[in-house]
């Protein structure tokens, strides 16, 4: 849509006078709007800069900016301790700087949630795209959209007021004879799983609906049942879109904050017990921000080290998604 009207030459159609003024306005507006678009790029750069700059002071005792001004560099927290240590307590009197427990918390929640959202979301997508009547579909889809529009804090409340005391705790007590607290890994997995169902189902369904009917008819004409058509034709043909929805759901689960904080708690530990309280990376950040953490302390700096790690994890998920979309474009026209 960009047509350059300033190059007009020939009798009487040169850009001058009133037209010239209009064109000057047009160029100014264009530069202004370009500036708006650049703000989005600056946001990304600012995020990168802020995270790296502050994380540097966690590891090296000085911000990047301070280093450039000649501040001395000392190794305050070693990378080996950060990445391999199993005790996370930067705010403790005898601090532990091993990030593994809270990385474990985040990954455990993510994997558990994926076990809920991926099968249920995919099944919902197949039902919506292949089986449901128009009437059912026109009610089910908006209902799932409501599920997607509910704020995460409400899910957190749902976990702490319902899922944990009414579902998880009774199971722990009656089946496993475990007395449980207010928080548990399992309720975190469940609630994040429920939250991410609509992402999987709606993106997968879009991909499945984009499969041309030619292919379905080809299979039906061979005497295939709906089950065959759904699982052998539609699902394979839409697999790249379906996988993209999984990656997005996983990325969302990694960065999820309020629901996991209220559901799974603030106890950094590596445990196989789904009824135990754990801490995710995001929950740690909430804990630090709630406390009176002074700028320049190790606790404050650790916030950004964890934030940087979280950002890198979700960024790599997004890049994986981009790569996946390019690599596995649906073949049909």
């Amino acid at each position: 849509m960009s047509t350059d009207v300033t190059d007009g030459s020939g009798p009487g159609i040169r850009g001058d006078g009133a037209v010239g003024a209009d064109n000057a306005t047009d160029r100014r507006v264009r530069r202004l709007l370009f500036g708006c678009a650049v703000i989005t790029v600056l946001t990304t750069l600012a995020i990168f800069f802020v995270l790296i700059d502050n994380a540097a002071s966690y590891f090296f005792g000085a911000k990047l900016t301070e280093m450039l001004l000649g501040a001395s560099v000392e190794r305050t927290v070693k990378f080996t301790e950060f990445f391999t240590g199993t005790r996370w307590a930067p705010d403790h009197a005898t601090p532990g700087h091993g990030v593994l427990p809270i990385v474990f918390g985040t990954l455990a929640i993510t994997v558990g949630a994926a076990f809920v959202s991926i099968p249920i979301g995919t099944a919902t997508a197949i039902y919506l795209s292949e089986y449901s009547s128009k009437g059912v579909r026109s009610k089910l889809k908006p209902t799932l959209e409501i599920l997607a529009g509910i704020p995460t804090i409400v899910y957190g409340y749902f976990a702490i007021a319902f899922i944990n005391p009414m579902i998880v705790a009774p199971i722990a007590e009656t089946v496993f004879d475990i007395n449980m607290g207010r928080y548990s890994l399992l309720s975190g997995m469940l609630v994040v799983g429920i939250m991410t169902i609509p992402m999987v189902s709606s993106i997968s369904e879009d991909a499945m609906s984009a499969v041309p009917d030619d292919l379905r008819n080809g299979a039906y004409a061979l005497g295939a049942t709906k089950f065959d058509v759904s699982t052998r034709i539609v699902l394979p043909a839409s697999i790249s879109g379906v996988f993209a929805s999984y990656i997005l759901a996983v990325s969302r689960a990694i960065g999820e904050t309020m629901a996991v904080t209220l559901a799974a708690g603030m106890q950094p530990q590596i445990t196989a017990n789904p009824f135990a309280e754990i801490m995710t990376m995001t929950a740690y950040m909430v804990k630090m921000a709630r406390g009176t953490t002074a700028v320049g302390t190790v606790e404050y700096q650790s916030l950004f080290a964890v934030g940087l790690l979280l950002f890198v994890m979700t960024l790599s998920m997004n890049l994986l998604n981009d790569w996946f979309k390019r690599r596995f474009q649906e073949e049909y026209r």
């Binding site: 009547s133 128009k134 041309p212 030619d214 292919l215 379905r216 008819n217 080809g218 299979a219 039906y220 004409a221 061979l222 005497g223 295939a224 049942t225 065959d228 052998r232 034709i233 394979p236 043909a237 649906e330 073949e331 049909y332």
Partner: protein, 276 residues
């Protein structure tokens, strides 16, 4: 259509017909008073026809006359369309396929279909042909290899794809894709093959290959072909049914009769290009 073309068709019909007259006519498909509605719109009106076994039956007529609807009502692909209602009877070997106890899935395993636009699945050549067999529960590798080769030979495609069975069916040319779809249809060994304008999306060379193939297929299968191309109907079919607007079957007879001496004036007008 010019008179020269007209005479050309006539001669071809005669030569074709001599090859298949020895077989006795045995009815495989028969419709009685078949009506099809899409919502309030009538697509087929009181169609009664007997389609003989091991013959090529062509269905011709102007656009929107219900040719494809008739084809889809044979293997009940119309079931896929919500607003579609079928009245009347359609017998396959004397059994009404619209009876309650008939399973459309089972029916479609007996009656295959080839579509207007080639629609290979986004799978390998091999998996495309094996699809129907796998759906029907065959998973022995050797049996599958065997059946795939037989189907591809039957569809005159084997020599062209022998070395690239693992490449995607979508990498083939349009004509090859359509023959792949034919191979896919015959792999499950149906009795009847329905073809819905199978050459209309192809170039003339590819189309003539499909026509040659139909000529061979009819040795083993019954072929019902919808075509908008009258020369094609004249070249390849034994019987021709003419549908006209409103979904009405106007005339059904030996192809030679239809093209040389149709009983109905409207058919004569349509054949000679005055109508439709």
């Amino acid at each position: 259509m010019s008179t020269e073309e007209q005479s050309l068709i006539t001669t071809e019909v005669q030569t074709e017909n001599t090859t298949r007259t020895d077989r006795p006519d045995e009815t495989v498909l028969e419709s009685r008073g078949l009506d099809v509605h899409y919502g309030d719109e009538r697509a087929l009106s009181d169609v009664s026809i007997e389609i003989p076994e091991h013959k090529v039956t062509a269905i011709i007529g102007p656009s929107g006359c219900g040719k494809s609807t008739f084809l889809r009502s044979i293997n009940r692909m119309n079931d896929q369309i919500d607003a579609c209602r079928v009245d009347g009877e359609l017998y396959f070997h004397g059994k009404n396929v619209y009876d309650d106890d008939v399973d459309p899935v089972a029916l479609r395993r007996k009656i295959g279909q080839v579509f207007q636009k080639p629609n290979p699945f986004p799978k390998s050549v091999y998996d495309n042909v094996a699809y129907g067999l796998r759906v029907q529960g065959l998973d022995d590798k050797l049996d599958l290899d065997d059946a795939v080769e037989r189907a591809l030979r039957g569809a005159a495609l084997w020599d062209e794809v022998e070395g690239k069975l693992d490449s995607s069916g979508l990498d083939l040319s349009g004509g090859q894709q359509q023959r792949l779809c034919i191979a896919r249809a015959i792999a499950t060994d149906p009795e009847v093959i329905l073809m819905d304008e199978p050459t209309s999306a192809l170039d003339p060379v590819a189309a003539s290959k499909i026509e040659d193939l139909i000529d061979e297929l009819v040795e083993e299968y019954t072929v019902v072909i919808v075509t908008h191309n009258m020369q094609q109907a004249a070249r390849i079919s034994d019987k021709t049914a003419v549908f006209l607007t409103g979904g009405e079957l106007v005339e059904f007879d030996d192809t030679a009769t239809i093209f040389e001496d149709p009983a109905d004036d409207r058919v004569e007008d349509y054949i000679t290009g005055k109508f439709g």
